[in-house]
């Protein structure tokens, strides 16, 4: 019960039924006689059976929104959070790993040459920028997944799990992996 509303409807009833009563002496009499005892509520109700109510509830539950929504969080936590990028990089590396060795298995049937000697030969024929770029595209996810994987293992041992440390080491992982990726791509 809201304290402010205590007695309001009772007062209204008195006002409507007995315009010249004690309670209304401070109110304009005409206004008081016009006061309605009901409030306007723009909703419609209808009586339905218990089964219908159940199926309606079930229907509404099926339309529940997905929560929490991604945009409810800060972008640097969701879009650049090291945790999801661990999955992206791991998935990409493992996907490439799976694709290469599956192709290697069936290559004799298709007549393709994907053995290491021919790969090295065709890679050597590429221009230096393409070589560095491709190496970076492999080396950066690898470095990121390695460095961040160690970070996650430290989480599992309950180290570095304070919020400040999570943010600090998150950016440290980005920096380290980019430096390592650039080094492995263009200097090795």
């Amino acid at each position: 019960m809201i304290a402010q509303r205590v007695g309001v409807s009772a007062a209204r009833r008195i006002v409507a039924g007995n315009p010249s009563g004690f309670f209304t002496q401070h109110l304009p009499k005409l206004a008081a006689s016009r006061l309605s005892t009901t409030q306007i509520r723009p909703v419609g109700t209808s009586k339905i059976t218990a089964e219908d109510a159940h199926s309606l509830l079930a229907q509404q539950r099926l339309n529940r929104p997905v929560a929490p929504h991604l945009t409810a969080y800060r972008y640097d936590q969701t879009w650049f959070g090291a945790s999801i990028w661990n999955r992206f990089t791991g998935g990409a590396l493992s996907g490439a790993f799976y694709a290469y060795f599956a192709v290697y298995l069936v290559s004799p049937l298709l007549g393709w040459h994907v053995e290491s000697a021919s790969l090295a030969a065709s890679f050597a024929a590429l221009p230096a920028v393409a070589k560095g770029g491709i190496k970076f595209l492999v080396a950066w996810p690898f470095a990121f997944h390695c460095v961040n994987g160690v970070r996650h293992l430290s989480y599992d041992l309950a180290f570095g799990f304070a919020k400040k440390q999570i943010v600090k080491w998150g950016w440290a992982v980005w920096g380290t992996s980019l430096v390592l990726g650039l080094y492995a791509g263009f200097a090795l």
Binding site: R12, F97, Y104
Partner: protein, 183 residues
């Protein structure tokens, strides 16, 4: 009674007084009030409903049993729980020295190379499994879940066979990467 002077009563009172004073425009006032009440209700409803902002549409769902049934608790099983978790971590941890060694030594001998490849294969398999479990919930996509799980098992078996072929017929994974990298 002080509550009679509170805004909740005051406002309709003032409104009624104004309407009585100006009977000519009273009929014109009524729909205006109703419109105001309605627009207020619409404005208030904006606070109560969640706007639809789908990045991906939510997957289809069905309600099994009644709407107020509790969520079924899966049977506790250490091989799907803590053992699985510990195994994942031990495997990931053992990959740290295995991946650092070839950088230090330049390459790996065939046995260590095979161990590294097998560990990466199992690590990848577990990782893909986790992705499937997360994004293809069995409750909402039962068929797709079955297909993706068994498709992953088949892919891992094929890749394992391919790795075996590579390790026996080629120069080994770490040596192959070194040769391509320095090509």
């Amino acid at each position: 009674m002080a509550s009679i002077m509170r805004p909740a009563v005051l406002r309709p009172t003032a409104m009624a007084a104004r309407m009585v004073k100006t009977p000519a425009i009273r009929s014109a006032f009524r729909p205006a009030i109703q419109k105001e009440v309605m627009s207020n209700a619409i404005r208030a409803s904006a606070f109560h409903t969640t706007s639809k902002r789908d990045i991906l549409p939510p997957p289809p769902q069905v309600i099994q049993g009644g709407v107020n049934d509790p969520v079924p608790i899966p049977d506790p099983s250490p091989s799907h729980g803590s053992y699985h978790w510990t195994f994942e971590r031990l495997l990931a941890g053992s990959l740290v020295p295995l991946t650092l060694t070839p950088f230090a030594a330049g390459s790996l001998n065939p046995t260590l190379d095979a161990v590294l490849c097998a560990a990466i294969l199992v690590h990848s398999h577990l990782g893909f499994q986790t992705i499937i479990v997360d994004y293809v919930p069995a409750k909402r996509f039962p068929t797709a879940r079955k297909i993706s799980t068994w498709g992953l098992n088949l892919a891992t078996a094929l890749v394992g066979l391919g790795l075996y072929e590579f390790e026996t017929n080629d120069v080994g994974v770490t040596e192959a990467i070194r040769r391509v990298w320095t090509a």
